[in-house]
């Protein structure tokens, strides 16, 4: 096995590092699936994985085309409903970490999955919320996984489907909302959020990228303090699990 790895593999590994043993995690399809199963097969064997439609702790052996694919429900411990999973678990406050993705994210971690263009003029309607707004509103923290491109990391976005820190500062807390985004993981860097301004703060840069590569390909200048370290690369074992067991057909890693 080569020790080289793709940006997607590093993103999945970085996502898995955000998860702790014993936690309850709400997951959508794609990289978050790889991150969650990787965590479960390494440092977090007692973690519980939830899919919004009513699926608890599945052990799929085949890749699925989405959450509606019975392939990803295989060997679940519970098959129930939205009220059960998004209601009595998420809304109740039992979800420790929710994963989110999107078309674009702004400096305060607000996400758009609804439309591209001008909401009052010409626009293209996309997917909308699904359970994303609910996870963004009710999870005790969220982790955003998104490609690092200027058209995706923007100072302001055209539609807020899922709120992060809204207009920053205390805006989210003022609405009595719990949680909020804790990390934004891209294919070039990892961001946290500044404790006061709640703007994205650059925490680490993936090996092989320079600071300029990160800053020149995003639509705003993030908060930065001190020397920015490099992101820890994946281990051989993590790469082996991703390639051989979790996503052998590269359905989720692209």
């Amino acid at each position: 096995m080569t020790s080289e790895y793709s940006p997607s593999e590093l993103m999945a590994v970085a996502g898995s590092r955000e998860l702790k043993d014993g936690q309850i995690v709400a997951v959508g399809l794609g990289l978050p699936v790889v991150a969650s199963f990787l965590a479960k097969q390494t440092h977090a064997p007692n973690m519980t994985i939830l899919f919004e439609l009513g699926v608890v702790d599945p052990e799929p052996i085949d890749s699925g085309v989405g959450l509606a694919d019975p392939r990803v429900w295989y060997r679940a411990k519970v098959l129930s409903s939205f009220v059960d999973i998004l209601g009595t678990v998420l809304h109740k406050g039992r979800v420790d970490v929710g994963f989110l993705g999107g078309l674009e994210v702004d400096q305060f971690g607000n996400l758009n999955t609804t439309l591209v263009g001008d909401p009052r003029g010409k626009f293209k309607h996309m997917v909308g919320s699904g359970g994303a707004n609910d996870i963004a509103s009710c999870a005790n923290k969220t982790v955003i996984i998104i490609r690092h491109e200027a058209r995706k990391l923007k100072e302001a976005i055209s539609f807020v489907t899922s709120p992060g820190y809204i207009s920053g500062g205390s805006a989210r807390a003022d609405l009595n909302m719990r949680g909020g985004p804790e990390r934004v993981i891209t294919d070039k860097a990892i961001f946290g959020f500044h404790p006061e301004t709640k703007r994205m703060q650059l925490l680490s840069i993936h090996p092989g990228n320079a600071l300029e590569d990160v800053l020149n390909t995003m639509g705003f200048v993030p908060e930065m303090s001190g020397t920015i370290p490099f992101t820890e690369p994946p281990t051989q074992e993590q790469l082996r699990l991703i390639r051989e067991q979790i996503d052998p057909t590269r359905m989720y890693m692209g």
């Binding site: 009220v83 209601g87 997917v127």
Partner: protein
């Protein structure tokens, strides 16, 4: 009471302009046979609702049967966007009231419990809420918690005229079993005035009594029971049949323009008298063999 009915008669019981709660979730357990029959009978000006937009809503909107959609966003999973719904939103022919999945589910839940409103943590601080407050102030409001004085967002209950359920098995009274996850379907049935059940298999009431814990929709909620095998095709029914990827791709492609959508409808909806002929046109037994599910794996 025996409520067994033909699909034609069950669909004909729905007046134009009704609010219909649809059972699909993206490409799972969609009411496709029902939607096709609604389109053939031309029952239009419908209001549709579901917590995740699915293929059943998309074909009804694409065929011009719906004026209004109350939903939580949706897609055909990896097969693409809901082109019928999205085109309606983009061109303004469809009045879409867009929520999150849980907020639509909570509106059904409030309806199912007979509550006047339901408080919710979702939607706050989003443009989904801004749009709803601007265009549908009758459905969203703030309430004060009488115990703590805290302000909450409150939603109005949804009370559909009829819910449609695609179920694994039912008896002639409408007592119904749904294998696998049920997303918002149980709250839909309980919030609605009545439910139409499309069952893959009809079983005896004696069989229902043997496993009452499997009965998730009690017969007293049900007005019509219709025996329609493969009613969700090209979508899946857990443990019975898998989704038909080839046909979903064909639909996803066709739904992208009004002209190709019309060609699809002419071939697979208007061009066949009923669901059996539709399945026969798509290969009959060969098709059924292709999509047969392994009951242990579920797909």
């Amino acid at each position: 009471m025996n409520k067994l009915s033909s699909l034609h008669d069950a669909v004909a019981s729905i007046p134009p302009g009704s609010h219909v709660a649809l059972p699909g979730f993206a490409i799972a357990r969609c009411a496709m046979a029902f939607a096709h029959e609604v389109i053939r009978q031309g029952i239009n000006h419908l209001t549709l609702s579901q917590c995740v937009g699915a293929m059943d809503a998309d074909i009804l909107v694409g065929a011009g049967m719906a004026d209004r959609l109350i939903y939580g966003g949706g897609s055909l999973d990896r097969f693409g966007r809901l082109s019928g719904v999205n085109r309606g939103i983009e061109t303004g022919t469809l009045a879409a009231e867009e929520y999150s999945s849980l907020s639509v589910t909570f509106r059904y839940l409030a309806g199912s419990l007979g509550l006047p409103f339901i408080p919710i943590r979702s939607l706050q601080g989003s443009d989904l809420l801004v749009n709803l407050q601007e265009k549908h102030p009758e459905d969203v409001a703030t309430v004060t918690d009488p115990f703590t004085g805290e302000e909450w967002l409150a939603l109005k209950p949804l009370l559909p005229d009829v819910a449609v359920a695609i179920v694994s098995a039912a008896d002639s009274e409408g007592n119904a079993q749904i294998n696998g996850p049920r997303w918002d379907n149980l709250e839909q049935a309980r919030a609605s005035k009545r439910t139409i059940v499309l069952a893959h298999e009809i079983i005896s009431t004696e069989e229902i009594r043997k496993h009452p814990e499997r009965n998730v929709i009690p017969g007293f909620l049900v007005s019509h029971v219709v025996h329609v095998p493969y009613a969700a095709h090209p979508c899946s029914l857990y443990q019975a049949y898998d989704y038909d990827a080839d046909h979903i791709r064909l639909y996803a492609e066709a739904a992208q323009s009004p002209e190709t959508m019309q060609t699809y409808l002419d071939a697979y909806v208007y061009g066949v008298p009923d669901h059996e002929s539709y399945l026969a046109k798509l290969g009959g037994d060969e098709l059924l063999k292709k999509i047969a599910a392994d009951p242990l794996r579920g797909y």
